[in-house]
């Protein structure tokens, strides 16, 4: 028999008792045909979040999976986990948006389903939120990041796209696409309400909008390990990314991102700023 640690006991409570207080943190995972990977990911996230000793919830935003992803999750019957089922595949951006807008936490993380950025990195992002930032972006390109297994093609594409993003949008964030980002609830609500891109480029749109809304954004280096089995075609996604850049720009020029009364005021009193944490 293995001894029960405090973390394990917290986990058992989390999977058996509905929390009576609102979550401090929500973790959102978009999932499309992840039957092979989703349970280890849920286990890793649950272990770490339960070890933090604060109320939290898990939201899995299905993206029209055609495998057993949804039934695997629903069969767990975890009282503090919500599975948002989608009838059809509409894109990662749409899945994340549904999850983020359903989240009840004061702080909301979205993380990829493959654990390529280990959940332990959450603590580094949370430290920046505690320091007053509205949006904290996990980065594979910031100084101090530990990246392994990234293919040469993906590195070249990333650099090319970064140049386009930097020149075309004036975004200083070195890695807009890492699937590990943390938001305050008000920032998430405003950003994901304005978001129009449903595909993989939604991250770029969010960062662009964060600047437009005057939200303070920090970039934090993270550990990242390539997860084999990705169904993403890097070249195809890059082409779509370029098309989405145009879409975002045109949408903005047409006044599509009109800031309304519900848009947040940054927690910082200074104008919009971007910080790269070394």
């Amino acid at each position: 028999m293995t001894a029960e640690t405090g973390t394990y006991q917290a986990y058992r409570k989390w999977v058996t008792e509905k929390s009576t207080v609102p979550p401090r943190v929500s973790v959102v995972i978009p999932a499309y045909n992840e039957e092979w990977r989703i349970l280890p990911t849920v286990g890793a996230i649950a272990t770490h979040m339960c070890s933090r000793g604060e109320p939290w919830e898990l939201i899995i935003a299905d993206d029209g999976s055609t495998d057993t992803t949804v039934s695997l999750l629903q069969d767990l019957r975890f009282p503090n986990m919500t599975v948002l089922v989608a009838a059809k595949n509409t894109g990662k951006g749409d899945a994340v948006r549904r999850g983020m807008l359903a989240a009840r936490g004061e702080f909301i993380l979205f993380a990829d389903a493959d654990q390529s950025t280990p959940i332990e990195q959450f603590d580094h992002l949370m430290a920046k939120i505690d320091a007053g930032y509205d949006v904290v972006v996990g980065s594979r390109a910031a100084a101090g990041a530990a990246v392994s297994g990234k293919s040469a093609l993906r590195k070249v594409l990333s650099r090319g796209l970064h140049v386009m993003v930097s020149v075309g949008f004036g975004i200083e964030i070195a890695d807009t696409q890492c699937g590990f980002k943390l938001f305050t609830a008000p920032a998430a609500r405003s950003l994901f309400t304005l978001q129009v891109v449903d595909g993989f480029s939604f991250d770029l749109e969010l960062i662009y909008l964060a600047g437009r809304l005057g939200l303070t954004t920090a970039e934090v280096p993270v550990e990242w390990i390539d997860a084999p089995g990705s169904t993403v075609d890097a070249a195809k996604v890059s082409l779509q990314f370029v098309a989405d850049l145009v879409k975002i720009k045109v949408h903005d020029l047409r006044g599509g991102y009109t800031v309304t009364g519900h848009s947040p005021v940054s927690r910082a009193s200074s104008p919009a700023s971007v910080a790269s944490i070394k």
Partner: protein, 110 residues
């Protein structure tokens, strides 16, 4: 992932540390396949310092267990870390292995 092997009279323990995922299964297999032998078919895997196991790693553990049982032995998981224990439970694979605690030398299946 770091792999360390300790062998004594009648027992062998392999200690793993770090992230056990698809990138690591080949190295794991190379080590373990040499250790599971008819004269010493029971292998202990110390997982106290494993921070994550993915589905490929779980499949590899199952493969090892099957190989050990085929020659009358077994793979015993020792001091399973919290994340590994929870992932084994979620995938209902804890029933396939004997879990052993360092502070409790009696072995049980759970």
């Amino acid at each position: 992932m770091r792999i360390r092997t300790e062998s004594g009279i009648g027992h062998t323990t392999v200690s793993l540390a770090g992230r056990f995922d698809a990138h690591e299964t080949a190295d794991f297999r190379n080590v373990v396949d040499l250790l599971i032998r008819p004269e010493n078919a029971t292998l202990r895997l110390d997982l106290s310092n494993v921070v994550f196991v993915d589905s490929s790693a779980l499949a590899e553990l199952l493969r090892s267990q099957k190989a050990a049982k085929a020659i009358g032995g077994e793979v015993i998981l020792v001091n399973v870390s919290d994340p590994v224990r929870i992932i084994l439970e979620l995938t209902e694979l804890q029933q396939v292995f004997t879990l052993e605690s360092r502070t409790d030398p009696t072995t049980t299946t759970s």
